[in-house]
């Protein structure tokens, strides 16, 4: 190594830790930095990050394209909403029930759907969203049909004698942030585990994985269920934040938004999904004040993506991360 190289190494310090610290501080201080509207946009981004994380496990790591995510999101939203309206249960009960119910619904749907080949599987998952909406519309005694559920109480926590309600936007933001962080950690743990390696093997070459003893079918089903659990928990946040749930929660637009987050952010990367949620949901939500501009910006975003970032923004993020880390 020459002297010049050494000098360069000294000059280019590893800035990753400081940057990470800044990001954490910004995330924690966001409600006090930006306006209430910014906080609101961030909450929406965090809510959609959950189903996107789940979808990423399916699309990005296991290689299964699914449009069913909005169905599980809707199931979670209704489950949490109904529990909160009828029984006034604490938020963690509602969120857990929402996740479990979504996961439980994924089992009987996944068993036949995963027997199908790639394209048919996608079409089948699309059907789940439509069926979900039809049930929400027509099972009036439970879902109140098109009227939907309204006046869903703000999330509250009850721990022994202590109880408090998450009433304001700021406190809701912190709750969503905490859940989002936990979900991100959970995904990180899954993809770092040997199972994560098997999922990638299935994505890369299913028959080869199978020939090496990997029970691919069982993994796919399990990941399908796990991804639904993420969506269900996201749905519970959605119900509690908006305080209304209608059959429109089951809409293709949501499924495609979740897919855009994953593919645009960077399928098979965690940072890509976090970034994608902020960009594709946070940003468009923030631009909602100017509806014309919003759709144009959204469209431009997608165009840029398709032409210059075919693998999403994750490779760019990674390069930046390596660069500030002092790597050449």
């Amino acid at each position: 190594m020459s002297l010049a190289d050494t000098a360069q190494q000294i000059r280019r310090r590893d800035l990753r830790l400081p940057l990470a610290a800044i990001l954490v501080v910004v995330a924690l201080a966001a409600p006090f930095i930006g306006s209430r509207y910014v906080t609101h946009s961030l909450i929406i981004a965090l809510i959609f990050m959950l189903p996107a994380h789940g979808l990423n496990l399916l699309v990005g790591y296991t290689g299964l394209l699914s449009l069913a995510q909005a169905a599980f999101f809707g199931i979670g939203a209704y489950a949490a909403g109904l529990l909160a309206v009828h029984y006034g249960t604490p938020f963690y009960v509602n969120a857990t029930a929402a996740g479990l119910l979504a996961g439980a619904c994924a089992l009987p749907l996944g068993i036949p759907a995963l027997r199908l080949r790639a394209t048919s599987f996608v079409m089948c998952t699309l059907g789940f969203v439509i069926i979900g909406q039809a049930i929400a519309k027509n099972w009036i005694s439970v879902t109140r049909g098109d009227m939907g559920l309204s006046a869903i109480p703000k999330p509250h926590f009850a721990l022994g004698p202590l109880s408090f309600t998450v009433s304001g936007t700021t406190s809701f933001y912190y709750m969503a942030l905490a859940i989002g962080a936990l979900a991100t950690l959970a995904v990180w743990m899954i993809v770092r585990s040997p199972a994560g390696r098997n999922m990638i093997a299935i994505r890369e070459n299913e028959t080869l994985a199978e020939s090496l003893g990997v029970p691919t079918w069982r993994y796919k089903l399990l990941v399908f269920i796990i991804s639904a659990v993420f969506a269900g928990v996201g749905g519970s946040l959605y119900a509690h934040y908006l305080t209304v749930v209608s059959p429109l929660t089951f809409q293709m637009y949501y499924s495609t938004t979740m897919l855009i987050i994953v593919l645009g952010g960077g399928a098979g990367t965690i940072s890509g999904v976090v970034f994608g949620s902020l960009l594709f949901v946070g940003l468009t939500e923030a631009l909602r004040i100017t509806p014309e501009l919003r759709m144009i910006a959204y469209g431009l975003c997608l165009l840029v993506l398709v032409f210059w970032f075919k693998k999403g923004f994750a490779p760019v993020l990674n390069r930046f991360w390596d660069m500030i880390g002092g790597a050449k």
Binding site: R192, N198, N205, G213, P215
Partner: protein
Amino acid sequence: MTGLPILEISKISKSYGAVKAVNDVSLHVGRGEIAGLIGPNGSGKSTFFDCSTGLQRPDAGTVKLDGQDITGWSLNRIAREGRMLRSFQKTVVFKALDVEENLVIAGQMFTFPSLFSTFGIGRLSKKRISGLRDRARELIKMAGLWDVRHQPAGNLSGGQQKLIQFASMLMPEPKIILLDEPMAGINPKIIERVIETILYANKSLGVSFLVIEHNIDVVTSICQRVVVLDQGKKLVEGLPHDIIADERVREAYLGG
């Protein structure tokens, strides 16, 4: 080579519509044996392989591995529980993953006791993986791939990829390996190396083999017994040199 054969396939048949791809074929591989399976293109060798390894379900017949009936088991179960591994002609490696990762994946299902245990990231899980990594490195050295172990497998030559595939199949300490044209499309230098590796696995690790191969020199130099298929049926079976001299075999290959 005493006792029960390691693999005993009886009266396997498989049809696609009106075509009988495999018609009542029986075959066995003795313990520690290297058996060859040859035949002209379209003689049903690959279908026979697929039916024996769970990739396809045979219409009739049974497959016994180490005395256990495994007919109808899935490909992954036969690999995992039966420790009978197979190669493919075309799909060889996980191209996007590096050489070492390829081997670690190959060993995982044999090291973790259940599907759920693979989700662990605790100390036990890490210990299992580091054990796999050590074994993977040994096999990588043996296969002469040490210098490229961190390269994406897809960047390597066809021959090197075959060696990776071969090393991957040795990860789980298999009882028997079925090779589908291991020498197809690789250069003579690597052929030597693959032969060495097969003989090493056979002699030192006690792995039995059933090999589909077109290269007749390879067949005569490694196989102790050869079975010839023609038009879905077993034509003849015997010592390599007798098979080469056999009139019926010549006719099958030349006369088509």
